[in-house]
């Protein structure tokens, strides 16, 4: 009860602080019109922190940080893309043109930008619908991120943690968090920055400095092997004679896996279990006496997927390498370019100067977010494996091996208590700033894009406002429901699916809209449809998330984990992220159909690109 009280007090204080400072910031900037027209300026730090706080969520810190504890430091390639693609390319290449075209076309949402550029209500409505339906998946990944931290820090039930987080989110939304006040986001970004800098400082300090920490992490698989060697004679004695020495680890791991099932059994079931599996008792006793054997079991299990250590890339052609590169690194690394809630940020920028300056601040911010989270996530193994910290690698140190719980467990175990609360504020900030922009995008997607402009094709009245609000409430409910329905350890996979789907459906049309006058309305429609439907089909019938979970509809409707179980041309397509196949298809369709159809009228192109060609290159 005490922990719930502390949690509530911290959450309320945080909301008050954010609310108060947000209100002050709001009063200071007043309106977008004041800012853009009346000569007010937004500080580049504010703009960059605001963008960064929207970009980086609990999903990146808790979900992908946890993934780094399993995949190792190879996840840092995502940070390289986060900085180079998510900041540099996004601001310098996409940002400048998006800003100008958005104002020329009087577009206020991402679907509206595409819809007006291609003169198509269908595009605006369909993009709005895709966002409305799939954004809750990403929002739930963000909400699970904060809930897992609350669950671990205050030892409350996950259901309680989700409920508390949802109430905080709802309170924030009702209190006006959707207004997208840059200063509120920037404040949250500032809290996140401090929290993550402290985290990396402590992590390296606890492990003896940068080089020593990496060396200790590199030595963990070797340590696990030596621990196994030390207990080998005991295991040999407990195993049936027909199990060969080199098959002993596999045999031991198999029974250890079976033993996990006893956690949910009653006494009668347990008795029957131990009677049917003769060696289970002996294996259980060995595991109890030598909990450190969990390390070798984890290494052996991961090695089957291609794992070679936390400081090494997975084996060539292994499922782990496929997942790491196509899903975790590329899916999110490239998908960021077509994120609707991020693209609109460029439209509220006054001049290219702010974008230039924001590149500087944004890159440092992102390095301190994902760079820190992924490094700390991988290094947590070297900390957890110390005897005084339990002696087991990260994934074996959290309940149920849930990777989403690794970062929370690491923070609570390795860092001072005061930091636990600071980090909760860091995560609350990361969650709030991203969730508010997600619900803002969902609201405008249903009200403005789908209903008002798409269906009615006119300016709506009060009805649109009502539908927008209804859309936000439905989005919130769907997000909370998904938190309970989705399996454990899903944050990174759910985020990658949303980012990948957005890239497949929107990126070629978005790029064509900004950079190619020859892209036609038919080309854009065909590209969005091909990217979305093929990407969706791939996710539902082919792609096995994390290379182990079954593809949802294939499993449900056909009873098969995937429609493509065997490699074709030497490629395991079932391990490949949808983005990898749907994005090229969507791009090819965009080009081919555009070349075959009539170019948009010159007057319209002049309106869209008015001055862009000249000024953007300056």
């Amino acid at each position: 009860m005490n922990s719930v009280m502390t949690l509530s007090i911290v959450a309320i204080l945080y909301l008050c602080a954010v609310g108060y400072l947000g209100f002050r910031g709001y009063k200071a900037t007043q309106t977008t019109a004041d800012y853009l027209v009346a000569g007010r300026k937004a500080h580049p730090v504010v703009m960059a922190l605001s963008y960064g706080a929207t970009f980086i969520s609990t999903s990146a810190i808790v979900g992908f940080g946890g993934a780094a504890a399993v995949f190792g430091m190879g996840v840092l390639w995502l940070t390289v893309l986060n900085i180079f693609v998510g900041i540099f390319i996004a601001f310098v290449v996409f940002g400048k043109r998006t800003r100008r075209m958005g104002v020329h076309l009087q577009a206020h949402t991402f679907p509206e930008l595409l819809g007006r550029r291609f003169n198509s209500r269908f595009i605006q409505a369909s993009c709005g619908l895709i966002i409305l339906i799939f954004m809750p998946l990403y929002a739930s990944a963000v909400l699970i991120g904060i809930a897992r931290y609350i669950e671990s820090t205050f030892t409350v039930d996950f259901a309680v943690a989700v409920t508390v987080s949802s109430i905080v989110v709802a309170a924030y939304v009702i209190a006006g968090g959707l207004k997208g006040v840059m200063y509120t986001d920037a404040l949250q970004g500032g809290i996140m920055f401090v929290g993550m800098i402290v985290l990396i400082f402590y992590t390296y300090a606890q492990l003896g400095g940068v080089v020593d920490a990496h060396k200790k992490l590199d030595a963990v698989p070797e340590l696990a092997a030596s621990q196994w060697e030390a207990v080998f004679p005991e295991v040999r004695a407990a195993a049936p004679e027909d199990v060969a020495d080199d098959a002993l680890l596999g045999w031991f791991a198999g029974i250890a896996e079976e033993l996990k099932k006893t956690a949910t059994m009653d006494d009668t079931q347990k008795a029957a279990f131990f009677e049917s599996l003769a060696s289970a008792k002996a294996v259980g006793a060995i595991l109890k006496a030598h909990p450190e054997l969990a390390n070798q079991l984890v290494v052996a299990k991961l090695s089957k997927g291609g794992f070679q250590g936390w400081t090494r890339m997975p084996k060539k052609g292994s499922p782990m390498l496929y997942t790491l590169i196509t899903s975790i690194i590329m899916g999110v690394g490239l998908g960021v370019l077509a994120q609707p809630q991020l693209a609109v940020r460029f439209m509220t920028v006054k001049s290219d100067q702010e974008l230039h300056r924001a590149v500087l601040v944004g890159s440092v911010f992102i390095l301190s977010m994902t760079g820190v989270a992924f490094t700390a996530g991988a290094l947590s193994n070297a900390w957890f494996v110390m005897p005084e910290h339990g002696g087991k690698v990260a994934v074996a140190s959290v309940p149920g091996g849930n990777i989403d719980s690794i970062i929370p467990a690491f923070i609570n175990g390795a860092l001072p208590k005061w930091f636990g609360l600071l980090f909760m504020l860091t995560l609350l900030s990361a969650a709030m700033s991203t969730l508010s922009s997600q619900f803002h995008t969902m609201g405008t997607a249903i009200g403005r894009d789908f209903f008002e402009k798409g269906l009615l094709g006119t300016k709506g009245g009060g009805g649109t406002v009502l539908i927008t609000r209804l859309g936000i409430v439905l989005g919130l409910v769907a997000t909370v429901v998904l938190c309970f329905v989705l399996p454990e350890g899903i944050i990174a996979a759910a985020t990658a699916i949303f980012f990948g789907l957005c890239a497949a459906a929107f990126l070629p049309a978005y790029m064509g809209a900004l950079f190619w006058k020859g892209m036609t309305k038919a080309g854009a429609i065909a590209s969005v449809c091909a990217g979305f439907f093929f990407g969706f089909f791939w996710i539902m019938f082919i792609q096995m998330p994390k290379a182990t979970l079954p593809a949802l509809l294939s499993n449900y409707l056909l009873g098969k984990p995937t429609l493509l179980p065997e490699p074709i041309f030497g490629i395991h397509w079932n391990w490949v992220e949808a983005l990898f196949v749907a994005l090229p298809l969507s791009a090819v369709v965009a080009v081919v159909v555009s070349l075959m159809t009539k170019r948009e009228p010159d007057e319209h192109l002049a309106l869209c690109f008015g001055g862009i060609g000249r000024k953007a290159e300056k």
Binding site: A33, L36, M73, F88, V103, H108, H214, S351, L367, K618
Partner: protein
Amino acid sequence: MLGIPDFWIWLAYVLCIASTLLSVGYGLINWNKGGEADLSGDTAKWAEEEDKISEEL
């Protein structure tokens, strides 16, 4: 190599810092460039509509 034995991991670690430095350098070089107001009178109309959407939410 910073205690990292795998070249590809080392490269990722170094590129994280290098891409940040590239962005910082770009920001510094262009710090005062592109500051001129280059948008037409449409901006006022756009900003007004943006505020309306914000208020409705």
